[in-house]
Symmetry: C2
Subunit: 464 residues, 2 copies
């Protein structure tokens, strides 16, 4: 949606009397910002509706005042469902160019946001390059950088946490995952889980709390985080550090205890005009997805829900873009607003370029199918156009309208490469004699001719 | 499930007084056949339950008396959800070995049934080879062969149709798609559709009826088809010749008019003790899937529902294994019993080996996720075992338990190829410092040591 970087607008017109504050601040005070107008335009929605939704916390526009290349986008139930692509290198492979390739590929295929989850190399430089190059909102998990600055997890200090958050905010990060809801008292609740804590941030904080016997510093210093977020208009993505890591651990006490806390933290953020979204699982059996979305919407008063999948089975490593796209479609249908992609490499290794493509396409499918199913505006138009092109055997148009034209064309051309076949009334799947649409068209032509003949003979009869 | 061909049993013990008749015949007369016992065993179910379900038409065991290499399997809501893989060559490429490769690959990765949809080459020979080699039920669409025997579709005669059906039945085909419900009077109902008729069989019959201005010969001669089916115990797969070919055409008058007829035909089949399943769409928006399954179950009195996907969006050619696996999971969750796979090549070309693998795995995911979601027996056990292996960093066990061990291992080994890494407490996705499960285990070890220390100091105190 945001992939035409040529018409980047300059926003940042949000200074009232020299003080830059959040979209929510203005929304509550009945000001429609440039960002709101832009989002309203691309979503074909009334700017006043966008403003109202933001004021209520039901819609967010993650747009750090220092992310100048950004084309704003909205996340919430009144707009189309969005998808996020995670990029970023690991400690082993560190290459800025490669990450920028991933960014460009992700945006090209339709990622609405990206998260830079880099954990190795010159993190500040990589992040700077990504923010500068990205037309879509950039998210991070600041605690990943914090960990690289200490020798052992227990050496983390609250000051270091806040410093890194402010550093990244200043750089222009649009939204940050902060696991403020993983409370010390919830840790015993994961004891009988199969996979324990599977959120990196959650596990880091849990180990810190266990060793120090102290409360989560992100919870203790939440007010300071809100101050920083408000200053740069960073959207807080309240992380689910205790999300389930397998079907067996889904919807357990630990998960929902944290969700209750996220509900409180949402209210506190809104009081300070800070935009918020809520992160969700992870791994859930299909039959628990609707309940999970409804629960989040109730407890967090319809703050946008940002889900990671969820995977609907654990038995398909290598295919978790599929297991999770199934869950993501269901989640979107029931009210989730941002779907975080999962690539085929999940659980196995760091995704490379082809994995990014597979992940993004699977999630464009999920988001679109969910939009169609929830009856969102004219979302089915593109399906109808493609289906018309299909029935008319206009192959080029069919490829053009598809989510991944290159792949569709390549698969078709494997057996019928010639340009002449781009109007052929069949493909190699059925061949001309067995193509149902070709036969249907033959029937229609026959019926048409018959009608004309009948009409002609009636007219002839009439003149006699 | 049926992929260990070493212990093929000899069934065919169904002759009472020299007359071989259908599973349903015996089920209704309180006889538990060898096939029923076998299915009960592999499904961990009481044979009497299997018999009752077959008697009521709610469960089928497609097992032609002449398919001697078959290991019987059941399709119905009381057993696990099954998947079908379509194989078969086209008029262009005809190669028996290649089709047998596809068969073996499909069965290896978990196809529960296969359909031979060949339309070119020596059809009888290919079919014979597939039936001989297949441990799983083999399905066909006899009208495809009929078309190859005539110059023009209108040259088809009822006699030719019945002859080919009998020929294939005699060969050992376990189930056949027959589009008996496409009635002449329903044809005007597709007039305003975007993609007309997309079932090959449906379109062939529609053209025939239009040119002859006569009723569907498969409907007219349904009793004769039942006689053949009863003789060899061929399960009739009542085809949905008017299924929707795109979202816009879903759940329309044409589709449901045919379904009503399929309901009548089901009753007529059951009266003759012929086993039946009902074919379903195709293309459906996610929100219409539950309604479609419920409607079929009501109209066809819970005859097993055999769905093709359905695809939940039309805009992803090249990825229709994913768009349709989403729909198939939903359909299975709501009560469909057999899921016909769709490969990435759907709408673009004839699937090759790699497409078969992708299709089968996507559908194993769908069937399994649906079984878990509907709470089917102990279906989640495998997820739990894999999750435990994951948390214990037992990589080999994790690969072993996964749906496609080769692919999972390959993806892991791309970055960490050494055997030593098969017990490593991390993978390249996060690296050791950022692995949440590694950190959780560190926390657990710390807590354990602390407890032991506390206990030790208490004991020490006690002895003082």
């Amino acid at each position: 949606m945001n992939n035409d970087s040529s018409d980047v607008k300059t926003f940042l017109k949000r200074s009232f009397s020299g003080k830059t504050i959040s979209q929510m601040y203005y929304a509550k005070r009945n000001h429609i910002t440039e960002e709101m107008k832009y989002v309203a335009e691309i979503e074909n929605e009334d700017p006043e509706v966008i403003r109202q939704e933001i004021a209520l916390g039901k819609l967010i526009i993650p747009s750090n005042i220092n992310h100048t290349s950004l084309k704003p986008m909205g996340v919430g139930k009144k707009v189309s469902i969005k998808i996020n692509a995670n990029i970023g290198n690991s400690a082993v492979t560190s290459d800025i160019d490669n990450e920028l390739h991933k960014l460009n590929l992700a945006v090209k295929f339709g990622a609405d946001t990206v998260m830079d989850l880099s954990t190795g190399g010159d993190l500040n430089k990589i992040r700077e390059a990504i923010i500068k190059a990205s037309p879509v909102p950039v998210g991070t998990v600041p605690i990943y950088q914090v960990v690289t600055e200490v020798k052992k997890i227990e050496d983390i200090t609250p000051e270091l946490l806040l410093d890194i958050i402010e550093l990244q905010a200043k750089q222009g990060v649009d939204y940050m995952t902060v696991h403020c809801g993983v409370l010390y008292e919830y840790l015993p609740l994961v004891k009988n889980r199969i996979t324990g804590i599977v959120s990196r941030g959650g596990s880091i904080l849990a180990l810190w709390m266990t060793k120090h016997k102290k409360q989560n510093p992100l919870y203790e210093h939440y007010d300071k985080i809100l101050e920083i977020a408000r200053k740069y208009d960073v959207t807080l993505s309240l992380g689910d550090g205790l999300r389930p890591g397998c079907l067996a651990d889904a919807s357990d006490e630990a998960q929902f205890a944290e969700l209750e806390t996220l509900g409180e933290l949402t209210q506190r953020a809104w009081e300070k005009d800070v935009q918020v979204m809520i992160e969700g699982p992870g791994h859930l059996p299909l039959d628990q997805i609707e309940m999970n979305v409804k629960k989040e919407q109730e407890i967090c008063k319809e703050a946008p829900f940002y889900v990671l999948g969820p995977l609907v089975t654990d038995i398909a490593p290598g295919y978790d873009h599929i297991t999770s796209a199934i869950g993501a479609t269901m989640a979107g249908f029931h009210g989730a607003s941002l779907l975080c992609y999962v690539t085929p490499k999940e659980h196995l290794g760091l995704p490379e370029l082809e994995d990014v493509r597979q992940g993004v396409i699977a999630y464009r499918i999920a988001a679109h199918a969910a939009d169609v199913a929830r009856g969102y505006k004219n979302s089915r138009d593109r399906d109808d156009k493609l289906s018309k092109a299909r029935f008319e055997f206009d192959w080029d148009r069919q490829f053009e309208l598809s989510l991944d034209p290159e792949t569709a064309r390549r698969m078709h051309d494997e057996t019928l490469p010639h340009q002449a076949h781009k109007q052929a009334e069949f493909c190699s799947m059925c061949g001309p004699k067995f193509c149902s649409m070709h036969i249907t068209r033959e029937m229609n032509r026959f019926l048409e001719k018959q009608e004309q003949d009948e009409l002609a003979s009636k007219l002839e009869f009439g003149t006699k």
